[in-house]
């Protein structure tokens, strides 16, 4: 089994590599743009720009 899978970066349109064990909801740093991307589905893997940080986020 491959250790990586590929998906399209929604911002740059480039193919980017992701770990094979990505989860829906996981946040990925785009190697193409540095933006935060969210995995919104797995089959096929679809990425969207992650929501902006909100003021009440945190631990």
């Amino acid at each position: 089994m491959s250790d990586t899978i590929t998906a399209e970066d929604p911002l740059s349109g480039e193919e980017i590599e992701l770990p094979a064990d990505v989860e829906v909801g996981e946040i990925i740093d785009s190697p193409a743009t540095g933006a935060e991307l969210e995995v919104v589905s797995l089959d096929p893997v679809v990425l969207e720009e992650a929501p902006e940080l909100e003021e009440d986020w945190g631990e």
Binding site: D56, G58, E59
Partner: protein
């Protein structure tokens, strides 16, 4: 057991938990809170059959509402709404610690710039102004002078939302360039680390260096007291060293532990899941006894 994991982002913390739960053969339902609707009496279908729900919401407001809804449905949730309610608000957090006799930095709250300015003058410089809701060291101000105090208070009063008109002011604690983060379950420490930085803020989110820390008996005692003060649960207790003792400045309720897991030899997610298993066993026993 069947765990419901509430989330809006899967960070490395959530992934560590998910991996540990799945490796042990537990059923996990990931519940994206952005997709759910909460009825007054009936839980959403996503919660069917769960033994316990783990709240990993990033947004404090969501966390507060959802934990309240889940408790109303009778679905066990960690942390509890009561714990979240105290920990989410720095003023309530400080009050709970003080009420329990836990040493905590001298803190005052005021609602107008004029009253806040009087507190700043009383505490002297530097002192610290914090938002009552907030994390990761955001919008924290170390006030070094009267001019800075006037400017920061005016900015908050003019530009902030209503929460920024609650002025939470704290004495500045001269810590030795580091603070201590303890991850604890119902007051029992799992692991601890120091967070060291040249900056006055030593949050991991601000890039502080993390290193394993061995707790002494006094620190353990304070962690237990602080945990009890906010109602227990899976918590991050933050302490500062004050020379011959500690002061507890806050307790965090949706605690991140990836930096801790990297810094210590303890398998942190395994310990968290051990505790969750115990919680679920406890809930089941309770249900059998009352049946």
């Amino acid at each position: 057991m069947h765990i419901g994991l509430l989330y809006s982002r899967i960070r490395r913390d959530e992934k560590l938990l998910l991996n540990e739960l799945r490796e042990r053969g537990h059923e996990v339902t990931k519940i994206d809170v952005r997709k759910e609707q909460f009825d007054l009496t009936e839980p959403p279908a996503a919660f069917d059959g769960v033994d316990i729900v783990v709240d990993r919401c990033l947004a404090t407001s969501r966390s507060l509402y959802i934990t309240r809804f889940l408790q109303s449905y009778g679905i066990p949730v960690v942390n509890s709404h009561e714990t979240a309610d105290i920990c989410a608000d720095k003023a309530k957090n400080s009050l709970a610690l003080a009420d329990a006799g836990v040493p905590t930095p001298n803190t005052k709250v005021a609602f107008t710039v004029e009253s806040a300015m009087e507190i700043v003058e009383e505490f002297g410089y530097p002192c610290v102004l914090k938002p009552v809701v907030g994390s990761w060291g955001r919008l924290m101000a170390k006030i070094d002078s009267e001019a800075a105090a006037e400017a920061i208070l005016e900015h908050k009063a003019t530009l902030g939302n209503y929460e920024h008109k609650v002025f939470y002011i704290q004495e500045f604690v001269e810590k030795p360039g580091r603070d201590i983060r303890v991850l604890a379950v119902d007051g029992e420490p799992i692991a601890a680390m120091t967070r060291t930085s040249d900056h006055w803020l030593t949050n991991a989110a601000k890039g502080a260096d993390a290193e394993a820390f061995e707790l002494d008996d006094r620190a353990k005692e304070l962690v237990k007291q602080a945990s009890d003060a906010v109602g227990g649960g899976l918590l991050g207790v933050d302490l500062m060293e004050t020379g011959d003792d500690y002061t507890v400045h806050e307790v965090n309720h949706t605690v991140e532990f990836k930096a801790l897991n990297d810094a210590v030899d303890v398998d942190v997610p395994a310990k968290v899941v051990d505790w969750l298993e115990t919680k679920v066993d406890g809930e089941k026993t309770l249900a059998e006894v009352s049946a």
